[in-house]
Symmetry: C2
């Protein structure tokens, strides 16, 4: 951020009175611009023991596989966001189920939230952001070609819980900031 979105004047980093972190503060109007983590929401859609995966047509990680997921929009719930992303990326109508995983992706300043989901009918095809969409058996999941570590975390917990007959939710933190050791 270089300019104030309210008045167009330059901003500078400063710690506002009573605050404890540097913020972008406008040099003209004084507006304080806070930056906060963004929510990425997805789901693991299952149809007859197979899981719906998408091969990404866009960066980052073009060509790699993921579950349907994307940035949450204003005006929708987490569950609506997960269903919308399945529709956009895989042209799939899913039924969102229980909370599966919450992954703090610290270096990306994102929180990834995943739900279990059912795909009642095996109808799907690639949306604009996907090269390919497929129903994949658990033993055929391309673990080495997954797009994101949060995707891998969600898929592994999904399969483990399913084998154990439970629907738990799982927290996880991934930190690839230059100054941090990975906590994954």
């Amino acid at each position: 951020m270089k300019f104030c979105e309210d008045c167009g004047a330059p901003v500078q980093l400063a710690i506002p009175t009573g605050d404890h972190l540097p913020r972008f503060v406008c040099t003209a109007c004084g507006h304080i611009h806070y930056r906060n983590p963004r929510l990425v929401v997805g789901c693991v859609p299952e149809h007859e023991q197979r899981i719906l995966l998408c091969r990404r047509a866009i960066e980052p990680r073009r060509g790699y596989w993921t579950v349907p997921a994307g940035f949450m929009e204003n005006g929708e719930t987490l569950q609506q966001a997960a269903a919308r992303e399945s529709h956009e990326e895989a042209l799939a109508e899913v039924t969102i189920g229980s909370l599966l995983a919450v992954v703090h992706v610290l270096h990306a300043e994102q929180v990834h939230v995943f739900f279990r989901a059912r795909l009642p009918a095996a109808r799907y095809s690639p949306g604009a952001e996907s090269l390919e969409v497929a129903l994949i058996a658990p033993q055929a999941i391309p673990w080495q070609d997954l797009a994101f570590r949060s995707t891998e975390f969600a898929l592994r917990r999904y399969l483990e819980d399913k084998a154990a007959g439970v629907e738990a939710h799982h927290f996880h933190t991934i930190d690839q900031r230059p100054t941090a050791q990975s906590k994954a």
Copy 2:
């Protein structure tokens, strides 16, 4: 948003190619500025059957009661955010427990996340954003003077679950947009 934070030129609302919603797009550099829900994170700290509540010293809802909660910062986990807010608002060192509630506050473009928490020692006092902090028995909770409906939802589910001997998590949606019926 009126100006581009990257180049300072005016922005205008437009639906980018391949998108389905209007975004703020810079008239000079073309940068697309997405707006997404912000995370507010808090907890319900308990000490010997009483709950730590704060009376707000700042707007919105100055003078009303809430659990410790606030905007999540970049670089922290949800649990760290909840603990930090308890420290800032109530000078309290809490131990964060299980996930309690996720409330979509659509009109505010926020997602509120609450955890259960323990306050091991009854040490607390008002932080800069609190007029007063108190350990309050469940039967003395000032329901009519709570600051936010999400706070009320979290507190009610907390007490119900405690009475039932469970630690579930609960989703809820509050929508006070002018064009929407309340779904609460």
